[in-house]
């Protein structure tokens, strides 16, 4: 699309506005947005921008080794800080390499601005060198995108991009800038505000609906909270805690919502869904009122839709109307921002004398405790072979639960989610919606840039780590002391598990032969490599890695290749039909 500037804006720039080139405008706009770090990779179409970046130091640029990593790093930077993440890549292959990162951020609703270079305006559509239809390619995996054909539209387009990325349901917004636009000049005027007649997210929940929801919740015999990434994205954890504690209700989080409610709290039942806990899934299946907050009823969560929460009346709060009643029909829909809606709910609760029937709640909790007794995550650690769960548990203990944990995709991701209890939001960084292998290491870099003094651990697998291993070089260049914990099972373990359960043990292409020596590989990149071969090695290796505060350390844990993630709800089964250990 063209940019949202009106002719009016063009004719009346600020009287004393400075004349800047497009490249200068990009850099200045980033600064005016308060952007401290961007992640990127240069190329012909963005050289003017790089040239201007080089001549200032308000906006710092981190040079990655692959554009996918730039986007993942910027994405994780956003997930940790809550700010808009920014990535900068060149046209053609730079843009296509970025697409996996953009789609990852899109699926998890992460606010980002991606700036791509484009061939000069006159060459667009000409099959020019390093030309791709970036706007066309990224249309389905961005919240919105722009091609800026006139330098006079650049500042306002960037402003709009940041606004769109962060407001309503957040998401990545891409701005494609032809090279000649970055060299043309125009007076710089960065708009204070954006008003779009076609885009007005609903923030305040409908008061009548909020009241109705609270009536339903407080009259429940067996209430259950199911909350997701929306609590994290909306910075609504505090308000959530207040409400759930006041109600003494049980609560579960989705994979994306972990940390939004403290894992160490008794009311927390663990994650729900395909690899959720027995108690969380059973409580969802047996509750009479389900309160879904910023969660989108993903198929990994609901299992068989027809059998999902069969006894429940459902309250659903989401800022995106299209998330509501998409998969599961709900009884009390509320469109709004969670921080606001939860504040109103807390207020209503404080003002009223409504409350759940104590006797019913006692019975409900007794039932839940019985499910909890099942101890669905138990495993046996002998002295011979390392259990991956044991590594996660030790990692949790030895970091005091205080690390930022990023993850790749596979079994290791599920074990991290199950065994590392997060008490705060924005500490668990993973690709849930797209499930992108290769996310973990660049994400750890972004997290480490955001919080240089925090311990950042990337939990990964022997398969996933090889999808962005080149970033070890970036870690060296910027002294990012990321700790990689590789649960090395010599398998694409998650695939192997499915093959064991559903394809009669035919392990087609899931065995990873010819793995590199990760210890030597880490050393070759200038880092420290440590290997744990036996259970007794696990604690010393983690301790040593944490002791080396300023070094990037690669921990290679040789874990049981045959271990499976339990519980597991087979795809298409009801949530209560779990395969248990």
């Amino acid at each position: 699309m063209t940019s949202p500037t009106t002719t009016q804006d063009r004719l009346n720039p600020e009287p004393e506005a400075e004349e800047l080139t497009g490249a200068e405008i990009v850099v200045r706009a980033l600064r005016d947005e308060g952007v401290e770090f961007i992640f990127g990779y240069p190329g012909g179409a963005v050289l003017y921008i790089y040239d201007k970046l080089e001549q200032q130091d308000a906006v710092k640029h981190i040079l990655v080794r692959h554009e996918q990593a730039a986007v993942h790093a910027a994405d994780a930077y956003s997930r940790v800080t809550g700010k808009v993440g920014v990535a900068l890549v060149t046209s053609g292959p730079g843009a296509t390499n970025a697409v996996t990162g953009i789609a990852t951020a899109y699926m998890d609703s992460i606010p980002m601005v991606i700036i791509t270079g484009q061939v000069p305006v006159a060459l667009i559509g000409n099959d020019a060198f390093q030309e791709v239809d970036t706007v066309g390619i990224t249309r389905p995996c961005t919240k919105h995108n722009f091609l800026v054909k006139d330098v006079r539209d650049l500042a306002s387009t960037l402003k709009t991009a940041f606004y769109l990325a962060a407001s309503g349901r957040p998401g990545p917004v891409l701005v494609d800038i032809p090279k000649d636009v970055t060299s043309h000049k125009t007076p710089y005027h960065y708009p204070e505000k954006v008003v779009l007649r076609s885009y007005k997210p609903t923030v305040k929940g409908h008061p009548g609906q909020v009241r109705k929801a609270m009536q339903l919740i407080t009259s429940a015999q067996r209430p259950m909270f199911y909350t997701g990434g929306g609590i994290v994205l909306g910075n609504a954890s505090e308000a959530l805690r207040t409400l759930v504690r006041a109600l003494r209700a049980p609560i579960t989080n989705t994979l994306m919502g972990l940390g939004a409610y403290p894992a160490s709290d008794r009311q927390f039942l663990g994650m729900l869904g395909m690899h959720g806990t027995y108690e969380a899934n059973m409580a969802v299946q047996h509750c009479d009122v389900l309160v879904a907050l910023g969660a989108r009823f993903d198929d990994r969560v609901t299992g068989n839709l027809a059998k999902f929460a069969p006894h429940a009346r459902i309250v659903h709060v989401d800022v995106d109307p299209s998330s509501i009643s998409k998969n599961v029909r709900v009884d009390v829909p509320i469109v709004g921002d969670l921080q606001q809606v939860l504040r109103e709910m807390n207020q209503l609760l404080a003002e009223s004398d409504q409350g759940n029937d104590p006797q019913a709640m006692r019975a409900w909790w007794a039932q839940i405790e019985e499910w909890r007794q099942r101890d669905c995550l138990c495993y046996v650690q002998d002295e011979r072979i390392i259990k991956p769960q044991f590594v996660m548990q030790k990692l949790f203990e030895l970091t005091g639960g205080e690390a930022i944990v990023t993850s790749d995709v596979g079994q290791h991701q599920m074990w991290a989610a199950q065994f590392y209890g997060f008490d705060r939001p924005r500490r668990w960084i993973n690709s849930g919606g797209l499930g992108t292998m290769g996310f973990g290491l660049p994400a750890a870099m972004g997290a480490q840039v955001a919080e240089p003094d925090s311990t950042v651990v990337c939990v990964t697998g022997d398969g996933s780590i090889q999808m962005n291993i080149q970033e070890l070089s970036t870690c060296l260049q910027y002294h990012l002391p990321v700790k990689v914990a590789c649960l090395n099972n010599h398998y694409l373990g998650m695939v192997r598990q499915w093959q064991e359960f559903f394809y009669e043990n035919r392990y087609a292409m899931s065995y990873v032969d010819a793995l590199p020596d990760f210890v030597k590989l880490a050393e070759a990149y200038g880092h420290v490599g440590l290997r744990a071969d036996t259970p007794a090695d696990v604690e010393p290796v983690i301790r040593e890695a944490l002791r080396l505060k300023d070094r990037m350390v690669f921990m290679d844990f040789q874990v049981d290749p045959a271990e499976n993630v339990y519980p597991m709800v087979p795809a298409g089964a009801a949530l209560s039909d779990m395969i248990l250990v």
């Binding site: 063209t2 919240k143 779009l196 998409k326």
Partner: protein, 161 residues
């Protein structure tokens, strides 16, 4: 169920492909789609004829509303509305058929807008069903070429969508 959806959107390059892309990406069906600027040149109006269950239509409307360039979405089939489609149809018209085609065109309130010694081109507006009926009334061998605009539709009464 058949639905006619009216969409007001920013008249900008790419807006149309966003709507079309949404329908194809989400597997929604499109029977027809028309678009042109309104009396406000900054705004285009699109009419989409689609089919789907209640649940699917709810999602279609929500997803359309989510597109940043979409200003307003309205399901016209929810209330009384008028639907029109334009057809230009070129038919063989020789010998006795010439009179027959002209008579048929009159019955359907068509207008003959181009004539050769072997053919007529007829302009016809109406609901899709009426246009279908006209085509069926002709001997299939007579039709040379058909172009249809897809439906345009507007609600009855004094209000706009």
């Amino acid at each position: 169920m058949r639905r006619i959806i009216s969409i007001l959107l920013e008249n900008e390059a790419g807006a149309l492909s966003r709507v079309a892309g949404l329908f194809s990406a989400r597997g929604y069906n499109i029977e027809a789609m028309t678009v042109a600027p309104t009396h406000d040149p900054g705004i285009s109006r699109m009419t989409v004829v689609t089919r789907g269950s209640e649940e699917i239509m709810e999602q279609v409307l929500k997803q359309l509303n989510k597109l940043v360039e979409v200003i307003r979405v309205h399901d016209l089939t929810e209330g009384p509305h008028i639907e029109r489609e334009l057809m230009l149809i070129k038919v063989h018209a020789v010998g006795p058929d010439r009179e027959e085609v002209k008579r048929l065109s009159d019955i359907f309130r068509g207008r003959i807008i181009d004539v050769t010694d072997r053919s007529y081109t007829i302009e016809l507006t109406g609901t899709g069903e009426k246009l279908d009926a006209f085509i069926h009334a002709l001997d299939p061998g007579m039709v040379i070429e058909v172009v249809r605009s897809g439906a345009s539709a507007i609600s009855r009464g004094a209000k706009s969508i």
